[in-house]
Amino acid sequence: MSDSTAVANGAAAGTVDSHHGEHPPYQRHHFETVGQQFDATNFAMWLFLLTEIMFFGGLFTAYLIMRNWYYPAFVEASHQLNVGWGTANTGVLIVSSFTMAMGVWSAEMRKKGLLLVFLGLTLLLGLAFLGIKSIEYSEKWEKHHVPGLNWSDASFLNPASDPEVYKEYHDKPLPPDMAEKTEMYFFLYFAMTGMHALHMIIGISILIFMIFRARADAYTTGHVTYVENFGLYWHFVDIVWIFLFPLLYLISRY
């Protein structure tokens, strides 16, 4: 062992020994204070969220360009979506953001029971969102409006060609050039809402993990970083939907 290592080890052991008991067990030794540790992890979480903003930004930019090129087709295709389901899902997600914020508050106040209640509610609302989304997706599948997997131009050119779907929805036929471009709208619709739904699924998986950890008193000791940073992620996913909803569902509804 070289001298410098021995000195370093000795110094480290010395400081650690005199140090322990003077700070909460969850404070890592490379941070001066709990506050510094909190700010550093908060900063890191935001850096991750910025990469997420850039990732969704590419999809939003593609949407803006295509919408400007094929506006009439985008209007017709967007009217295939159900504003009621879309509004309900926006409400569900906003309330889930509220319950998540209240979960962070419960962890900060060290109320384990409330934390479990709010994490559970957030989980249920997240599942409700995915449930409503799957109702909408299955309708698109039924109408052959899923690009690449189950797509048919005829469903727009001549909706009456599928009598079972037609008697339920009574869609008006579209001219060929417009019918063709609705595929671009639905491609972007599935890419954007699908990527959003994937983020929801990841969030729900982490929520389930967190509920087990919360039951084992992991977040009610004053160490709220994990709950706080997961909250940031959950709210971010909510913000993405806040933009997806008017852009995809509410084009020229008048």
Binding site: G35, N42, F43, M54, T61, S97, F98, A101, F245, R253
Partner: protein, 119 residues
């Protein structure tokens, strides 16, 4: 050394702001009302502004995006605690959105001006 350590911790306890359930409730209410508003506005024709030949601004998407931006700001400031966060976090968030807008803005100006006058 140990004294300073304890002092800093106390200092942090003061700094770490716990947002009250009341504030969260008010934000929730505002967000739900704004959602209703954006749906209602989308069923009304807000008209358009002919800026110049071939360049028209429709007010409906502008209003929809303004409401969405307001909702986002509320979520970021209160649910995500940026209003009460360290300066570094505020700067990070602001610069992130700024760069995002620059990227979208530059791309869109290119797309709009490339075939200028050949509409």
């Amino acid at each position: 050394m140990s004294e300073q350590h304890g002092h800093n911790e106390e200092h942090h306890e003061e700094e770490h702001h716990i947002v009250s359930p009341m504030t969260y409730g008010l934000i929730l209410l505002t967000l739900l009302v704004a959602t209703g508003l954006t749906v209602w506005m989308s069923f009304i024709d807000l008209g358009e502004w002919h800026i110049t030949n071939g360049l028209t601004l429709f007010w409906n998407p502008v209003v929809a995006l303004l409401i969405a931006c307001t909702k986002m700001t509320l979520v970021v400031l209160f649910f995500m605690h940026v209003k009460y966060s360290a300066r570094l976090t505020k700067l990070t968030v602001a610069s992130g959105f700024f760069v995002f807008l620059v990227l979208i803005g530059m791309t869109m100006t290119d797309y709009f001006s490339r075939a200028w006058g050949r509409w």
